[in-house]
């Protein structure tokens, strides 16, 4: 069964390009346009991997991470895709249940590799 990836970003171009890249890799992709929608989709669809922006309407990426970590029975690896990479406090990032941070502009190729690697690590015993 194809792994299911949720991508949350308020920039339609970003969700579009990431979806295209991951679908070509055989992933099933779910798209959310803001934090609230991402939270609802994550709770309902139980994706295997989440890619989220930091600054989004209705619910920020940080709040999304914290809520999902608290409410999901099984933790889901999350990758934060943000333009504010260097402004984030590394200590704060370390405390959050985030697998990795990737800064915009980003390489879809590298993003795909990170997702594949993370899912592979999860499946490995």
């Amino acid at each position: 069964m194809a792994a299911r990836v949720l991508i949350a970003d308020d920039e339609p171009c970003i969700t579009d390009v990431v979806s295209r890249k991951l679908r070509k890799e055989g992933f099933e992709v779910i798209v959310a346009a803001d934090g609230q929608e991402a939270y609802e989709l994550a709770m309902a669809e139980r994706p295997d991997f989440i890619i989220t922006d930091l600054q989004m309407p209705r619910m920020s990426g940080l709040e999304l991470c914290v809520r999902l970590a608290a409410e999901l029975a099984e933790p889901v690896p999350i990758l934060m895709l943000t333009a504010k990479g260097f402004e984030l406090d590394p200590a704060e990032i370390a405390r959050l249940p985030i697998l990795a941070v990737m800064t915009k502009p980003f390489s879809p190729r590298e993003l795909r590799d990170k997702v594949c690697q993370a899912l592979q690590d999860l499946r490995a015993p």
Binding site: D10, E11, R20, F106, P108
Partner: protein, 481 residues
């Protein structure tokens, strides 16, 4: 009888000389120079005694008429307040010679007295100048908007100005000495002062940051500390001077600038991220067919345009704010501007099936303004209205006079702005939670409108809005009377 006459003549002469000296010394006494006064009085007393003795000896040998004549001349001198008797060369007798000697002596004393008077006057002037300079320096120190504190080597505050009083809330009178620990309670600031005094010549100059208060009331100061030295080698610390410059506003501006740069970079990264991602997809052969490749290229072109608009608007706003663009004002007809804007926006409205109505007054209302800037401001408002109005909606532009202002109303049947966001939509890069979902925008259009209408044209921008029903953006521009 002769003896009696001579004794009287000596007394008369002494009185005459004494009167002469008195006349000379009087101004000095009035000058209040105690030491000089005493010295001169003593000198004059001694001179009087000597003159009396010599006079007594000589006068004993002089005929009565000559003495009377000299006595008369002395009386004239006293009456006229003059120094120096007139003796002709013919009066070569002992009294004549004595008279000349007395004259020379009086001239000498007069000269000395005059010199002393000049010196006293000079000293008085110097004192007055010093006093005035001291008052001037104090006034200057008090007028300085920075806080100034001077602490001596005994840790007493010896000088503080009004600004320092305001910062620390000093209660004591200006000019009084107060132990620094009594005057200042802030431990950090006291440490700064004592560190400075103790470091002596090692660190004679230092700048430190110091904060007072908390939260909203917090003020930030740059404290410039200098050690004051004395002694021939200037190696003894005699005090510390602290100047406190309020940098709260500067810090706020720096923070606002940094936030602005951060926001601009963040906003620019969004289109840049798309451009990079789609380009990489093309390079990696991720486009399945030429149609998909073309789709990527169209997105790249669109995002490039978005980046260009963002850069242009940022530059425009920053130039307007910094006053780099001077407004080129002239009397112009608002109606004509609105017509031009409506013409430009109508294709955009037609594409969404929006009815764009321009109910323009038949009268041409005139404002004094920069045509290009006002055109840009009105265009931003009208194109926003079209952008945030759903398909099949309605946008109406109208203009009228209201209390000396030409008002431009742009009403739409769009999504509306929530009441708590109305003020914020004029902040740079702020995008309403609802607008972000609906249409692309830079978040700089409305700040630009506000800057152009309010700062440059002295007008006002007002918004009335109801979520789900629509908004009216109202631009008030001062009318030409």
């Amino acid at each position: 009888m002769i003896e009696l006459r001579r004794v009287a003549a000596v007394i008369l002469l002494c009185v005459g000389v004494g009167a002469g000296l008195h006349l000379l010394l009087d101004p000095l006494r009035n000058a209040g120079q105690g030491a000089a006064d005493k010295a001169l009085t003593l000198g004059a007393g001694a001179a009087l005694a000597v003159l009396g003795a010599i006079g007594g000896y000589l006068i004993a040998r002089i005929p009565k008429e000559r003495i009377r004549d000299v006595a008369d001349r002395l009386e004239v001198l006293v009456r006229r307040g003059r120094v120096g008797m007139a003796f002709s060369d013919a009066e070569a007798d002992a009294l004549g010679r004595f008279g000349h000697a007395v004259n020379r002596y009086l001239a000498f004393v007069k000269d000395e007295v005059e010199q002393s008077q000049i010196a006293v006057k000079e000293r008085q002037i110097q004192m007055k100048v010093l006093e005035a300079e001291k008052r001037h320096v104090e006034a200057v120190i008090h007028a300085i908007s920075d806080g100034v504190l001077v602490m001596d080597s005994f840790s007493d505050l010896v000088l503080t100005n009004e600004a320092a009083k305001g910062i620390f809330g000093f209660q004591f009178e200006a000019g009084s000495r107060v132990p620094v620990e009594e005057a200042i309670t802030d431990a950090t600031f006291l440490d700064l002062l004592s560190e400075m005094r103790e470091s002596g010549s090692l660190v004679p100059h230092r700048t430190a940051e110091w904060k007072r208060g908390a939260g909203e009331c917090e003020r930030a100061y740059r404290v410039i500390l200098n050690t004051v030295f004395e002694g021939r080698k200037r190696d003894r610390v005699s005090g510390v001077v602290a100047v406190l410059h309020d940098v709260t506003r500067e810090k706020e501006i720096a923070r606002a600038k940094s936030d602005f740069v951060s926001s601009v970079s963040h906003e620019m990264k969004a289109p840049l991220a798309s451009i990079k991602a789609y380009t990489e997809m093309l390079v990696d052969g991720d486009a399945d067919d030429p149609a998909e490749a073309r789709e990527f290229l169209v997105i790249i072109a669109g995002e490039t345009d978005r980046l260009t608009r963002l850069i242009d608007k940022t530059l425009n706003l920053s130039r307007l704010e910094s006053g780099l663009i001077a407004a080129n004002k002239a009397d112009l007809a608002v109606t004509e501007l609105l017509r031009a804007v409506a013409e430009v926006v109508s294709p955009q409205a037609a594409a969404k099936g929006i009815r764009l109505e321009a109910d323009l007054a038949p009268l041409f209302f005139h404002v004094h303004g920069d045509r290009d800037m006002l055109y840009q401001a009105i265009l931003n408002v009208v194109s926003n209205a079209v952008k945030y109005t759903p398909e099949g909606g309605h946008v109406a532009i109208s203009t009228y006079l209201d209390d000396g202002a030409v008002v431009v109303d742009v009403a739409d049947t769009g999504m509306g702005v929530p009441a708590d966001e109305i003020e914020r939509i004029f902040e740079k890069f702020y995008r309403s939670s609802r607008s972000a979902d609906t249409a692309a925008g830079t978040g700089l259009g409305l700040p630009l409108v506000k800057q152009i209408v309010e700062t440059i044209h002295g007008g006002r921008v007002a918004v009335e809005s109801e979520v789900g029903k629509g908004s009216v953006f109202r631009l008030y521009l001062p009318a030409v009377r």
